[in-house]
């Protein structure tokens, strides 16, 4: 199964209000900086 790339993070200032309402957020296991 391919790893989905991240949904936009809560950092996005345009959609902050909407994003914060979500109770679940998916992120790619590859989506963290500083990892091989």
């Amino acid at each position: 199964m391919s790893e989905r790339t991240a949904h936009r993070t809560v950092v996005d200032t345009d959609d902050t209000a909407i994003e914060e309402d979500l109770l679940v957020e998916d992120v790619s296991i590859d989506g963290m900086c500083g990892v091989y």
Binding site: T9, C33, Y36
Partner: protein
């Protein structure tokens, strides 16, 4: 509080981490972030490595990225791999392909909770081998063939973007598609031997835009390790990822001798949290070290906070700034707004740049000329058992 704020303040355990198992390597890539080549005589024993895995299990670190050097040259690599998986620590290991025989590939394909990442830096031998050495492309390609033939689905192909391979992005994608693998492109940092070739290899301003545009167009299936958030200011669509520096907050590095650094691109005393051999092991370093505690405080964006792009790029990469001699509370050396140019010019006329703590290169590094000192001569290759701290250096 937003999720990203929680991450910036650090968690009780990393989300995932990089574990370099050995400094030994069969290759001598020009840009190696860990300056690998020779094994360090102080490397963790099999028992010590297993104790680390036990700790990671207890801390519920779900997943480690194992690298090096070349991790598969450790005699106990396969044993440690099995041990991790049996203790609820998933593994992705990064390799140049040297030990991925058809048989190993079949074993891996039959193993749950393990992922394999093959490193190449060119879509052709010509481009790749210029950085990674003669024959390295063929070796990696053979490993990919073996994995695909064995039915290993969705292994990773990881590429560091350089001035010479940006034009091959589509070809990289094609190779991944051909093998049913997933492409991963990451940012070159001036870390390890990368510092020596940074001026020649890092993408140009135009190429950065190329990379950004290509990711926007192809990003759905391509991984980046969140390494391009410094490019976010190029457009209104942020690239996928947490878009923050996870060093010491949600990720870190455990190096072959048990040193815990904030991240694999920051192998320097300044970013050293402690050692797993100290009392309290890895968990104590992660939770209580001075360095990590300070990284989890609000960071000063300094000169960058007044920039309209700051929210998108967060001032870029700490390691990139450090090893190019820039202040950490200022722009990234590749700031897309060009804000680092004057600062870099100042550095150029000043003293020596910070050097990585450790250099396990098998031959002398070619350092840029500094203050009239001669470039390091290439010496005779050292034996792996040579423990002299001056081995390979002058």
């Amino acid at each position: 509080m937003k999720l990203v704020d929680h991450f910036e303040q650090g968690l009780d355990a990393p989300i995932c981490l990089t574990w370099e198992l050995t400094y030994a390597c069969n290759l001598a890539c020009e840009h190696c972030l860990s300056s690998s080549g020779r094994r360090d005589p102080r490397e963790l024993s099999t028992a010590e490595a297993k104790a680390v895995i036990d700790e990671l299990q207890r801390m519920q670190v779900f997943y480690v990225n194992i690298g090096g050097g070349e991790p598969t040259v450790r005699q106990d690599f396969w044993e440690l791999l099995d041990y991790a998986i049996a203790h609820q620590v998933g593994v992705k290991f990064s390799t140049n392909g040297v030990r991925i025989t058809p048989e190993r590939a079949r074993q891996l394909a039959a193993t749950d909770y393990v992922d394999v990442q093959i490193s190449i830096d060119g879509a052709t031998a010509e481009v790749n081998d210029a950085v990674r050495g003669p024959g390295s492309f063929a070796m990696a390609y053979r490993a990919m063939e073996n994995l695909a033939e064995a039915g290993f689905e969705n292994f990773k192909i990881s590429v560091v973007m350089t001035r010479h391979n940006v034009g091959q992005l589509d070809e990289f994608k094609a190779i991944a598609d051909k093998f049913g693998a997933q492409l991963r492109i990451t940012r070159l940092r001036p870390s390890g031997r990368g510092a020596d070739v940074w001026n020649d290899l890092h993408p140009t301003t135009d190429q950065q835009l190329q990379i950004y545009d290509w990711l926007i167009a192809n990003g759905e299936q391509v991984l980046t390790g969140d390494s391009f958030f410094h490019l976010n200011a190029l457009g209104s669509t942020p690239l996928a990822g947490l878009n923050l520096c996870g060093a010491g907050r949600v990720v870190c590095l455990i190096d072959p001798v048990g040193d815990v650094y904030a991240c694999p691109f920051a192998i320097h005393d300044q970013f050293l949290g402690g050692n797993i051999r100290d009392a309290g092991g890895f968990e104590t370093v992660w939770r209580t070290s001075e360095l990590f505690t300070s990284l989890r405080q609000p960071q000063s964006g300094g000169a960058c906070t007044s920039c309209s792009a700051f929210d998108a790029c967060k001032g870029g990469c700490m390691a990139a700034k450090f090893f190019t001699g820039l202040p950490l509370d200022g722009p990234d050396p590749e700031c897309v707004k060009g804000n680092a140019e004057s600062a870099l010019a100042l550095v150029g006329s000043g003293g020596a740049l910070p050097q990585p703590d450790k250099d396990h290169s098998r031959t002398g590094r070619t350092r840029p000329v500094v203050l009239g000192m001669p470039t390091l001569a290439v010496g005779a290759p050292d034996r792996a058992c040579d423990t002299s701290p001056l081995a390979g250096l002058r």
